[in-house]
């Protein structure tokens, strides 16, 4: 049967899996952002820990996703849980590092002026550091989102659902249409999300920082 016909026939399935895929990605990115940005802010206050923290998240990032799943499953089981944990762990590098870099590369004279004027550390964080670091943090979220879509695809193998399920099924049964029914939508999803974040970055960059 032709590819198009297969797509039409399985439209419901593709939609369902796409939704699953998006759901797991959204949850993972949201949780990762909260954790990652918080840790990023923390290590700007405790600089000595910064290199080690970023280093550890970097090492985790290097581990192939399948291997990380494999190491989590014996302790957490299969399904969405290990998938989410792995996705969150992977995203930490981008978020922690970008938050840290975004905040620490703020011109020191801005920091001195803010302190000298009588801003409390919390006020300075809220009114200066975060807004100025926002573009960089956004770039980190974008990286995490796109990466999570890719990893979530693989997570289908351990029962997390999503479009990867079609790809794995298609490979196993040597069914080209099935493979493509998974591969094409997930590719478009990834490219689309990337573009969405490019637009979001642009929209959220404070105009003072746009040159």
């Amino acid at each position: 049967m032709s590819i198009l016909a297969y797509f039409v026939k399985s439209a419901n399935l593709i939609l369902k899996l796409t939704l699953e895929h998006i759901t797991i990605t959204v949850i993972a990115v949201s949780v990762s952002t909260v954790i990652g940005v918080a840790i990023g802010i923390l290590i700007t206050r405790y600089r000595r820990a910064a290199m080690s923290v970023i280093g550890v998240s970097g090492i985790i990032y290097t581990i192939p996703s399948l291997a990380l799943f494999g190491m989590l499953i014996p302790f957490i089981g299969i399904g969405i849980k290990p998938a989410l944990i792995a996705l969150i762990l992977y995203s930490q590098l981008a978020l922690i590092r970008n938050t840290y870099v975004g905040i620490t590369t703020i011109d020191p004279s801005i920091r001195e002026a803010g302190r000298g004027m009588g801003m409390s550390p919390w006020q300075f964080l809220r009114m200066v550091e975060l807004p100025v670091a926002l573009p960089v943090i956004m770039a980190g979220i974008r990286t995490a989102a796109v990466m999570n879509i890719g990893t979530a695809t693989i997570a289908a193998y351990i029962g997390a659902g999503g479009l990867g399920w079609l790809i794995f099924r298609g490979i196993a049964s040597v069914h080209t249409e099935q493979i493509l029914a998974g591969a094409l939508p997930v590719t478009m999803l990834a490219i689309g999300v990337d573009y969405f974040f490019v637009l979001l970055e642009r929209a959220l960059t404070p105009s003072g920082l746009r040159r």
Partner: protein, 378 residues
């Protein structure tokens, strides 16, 4: 007796690596004065000033602001009550000029309306037209404009004390001179106590009521500029001040310091008869003509009066007279007199009111006095 606003009492700062940046200094700063801190790089001037708003905490000693120990005050409230301006300004790049300027008022809790009014007033004060600058971003401003916004921001909550750390240091010489002049102008309008750090001795002399010369963490001399120029306390200060002491001293003195204040005047409405009478009485060939408010109008000579017997002074007087300014500097005024071949000039103030007369004799006396003092010093 002027009030002591700030007192440093045996203050020292030793950093973690052992550097003694500030070494047991004590001094008082009075209400409304501008003290410039000057010295070579590393002398401790910036550290000293930052001890006041506790950006750096002292290792020993106490600092009093309005009689209260700064170490015991809430540091955030302390800093909000002190204006702070630094060399690189540190404008927040993601905020507009208006948002930058109104920051401390916003933190304190002023209403939006008050913030806006205050911002516009301040932008006017520093020479930036509010309607065009309010919504600009820092990256759209020149160096001089940024520094002005920095000044406005520091003044926003109307703090009684201001710290300025090399505020004009990063600017080109022309802009720097402009801003220095505006600083002097502003000072007369605001009644604030100012601590001003600079590495430029000329700037310190130009702007300071008193100068604190620092070296290796100690205050070597703390005197008005004229005294520092005339009586440097040691060779270091003398070298710092430089070779052209005489010229610098001359720049410090104003015409008002050397002129003759008492004058014979007559109003333009008076009659020629009265004028002749006054001249005879005072044995003077010239009278200065003023209007009813005391504004200088011109001069009337004995020769003018000879031509007529009746009429008013206003009809015979000479209006086209060159004048010298009471706040003018010695050398430029002298040059002007030489250029126009005048041996005397009437002295007026900024509102063109007659203040006195200055003649060549006055200049000679001035130079003689300076030479005399310098002679004894040497």
């Amino acid at each position: 007796m002027p009030k002591v606003i700030i007192r440093f009492d045996k203050v020292s700062k030793v950093f973690a690596d052992g550097t003694k940046a500030v070494d047991d200094i004590s001094f008082d700063i009075y209400d409304g004065e501008c003290v410039t801190f000057v010295g070579p790089s590393g002398c401790g001037k910036t550290t000293t000033v930052k001890l006041l708003n506790r950006l750096i905490e002292p290792t020993h000693g106490t600092i009093y602001l309005n009689g209260e120990d700064t170490a015991k005050a809430d540091v955030i409230a302390l800093r909000r009550g002190i204006g702070y301006m630094i060399q690189d300004v540190g404008l927040f790049p993601h905020m507009t000029v208006a948002q930058n300027v109104s920051l401390v008022p916003r933190l304190i809790g002023w209403t939006k309306g008050d913030q806006e009014t205050r911002t516009d007033d301040l932008l006017h004060l520093v020479g930036l037209e509010p309607s065009s600058f309010r919504n600009r971003y820092p990256h759209q401003l020149s160096g001089g404009q940024r520094q002005r916004v920095g000044v406005a921001r520091g003044l926003a909550a109307d703090p009684p004390v201001i710290l300025m750390d090399e505020p004009f240091g990063a600017l080109d010489p022309i802009t720097r001179a402009q801003l220095q002049d505006e600083f002097v102008r502003l000072r007369s309008r605001l009644n604030k106590t100012i601590l001003f750090v600079t590495h430029d001795i000329d700037e310190a002399i130009k702007l300071g009521d008193r100068i604190a010369v620092m070296r290796s963490g100690k205050v070597v001399q703390f005197d008005p500029p004229a005294k520092i120029l005339r009586d440097p306390v040691d060779p270091f200060v003398r070298d710092l001040v430089g070779k052209e002491c005489g010229l610098k001293l001359m720049k410090l003195s104003k015409i008002a310091d050397i002129m003759e204040p008492a004058l014979t005047t007559i109003t333009e409405g008076a009659s020629v008869m009265e004028a002749k009478q006054l001249m005879a009485e005072r044995k003077s060939d010239i009278l200065f003509v003023v209007d009813n408010q005391g504004n200088f109008e011109g001069v009337v000579h004995f020769d003018h009066l000879q031509k007529r017997d009746g009429g008013r002074v206003a009809e015979v007087m000479d209006r086209a007279t060159l004048t010298a300014r009471a706040d003018g500097e010695i050398r430029p005024t002298l040059e002007m007199m030489l250029k126009h071949k005048q041996v005397w000039l009437p002295v007026v103030d900024e509102e063109h009111r007659l203040r006195g007369i200055v003649t060549m004799t006055h200049f000679v006396c001035f130079f003689a006095t300076e030479a005399g003092i310098q002679g004894t010093a040497a």
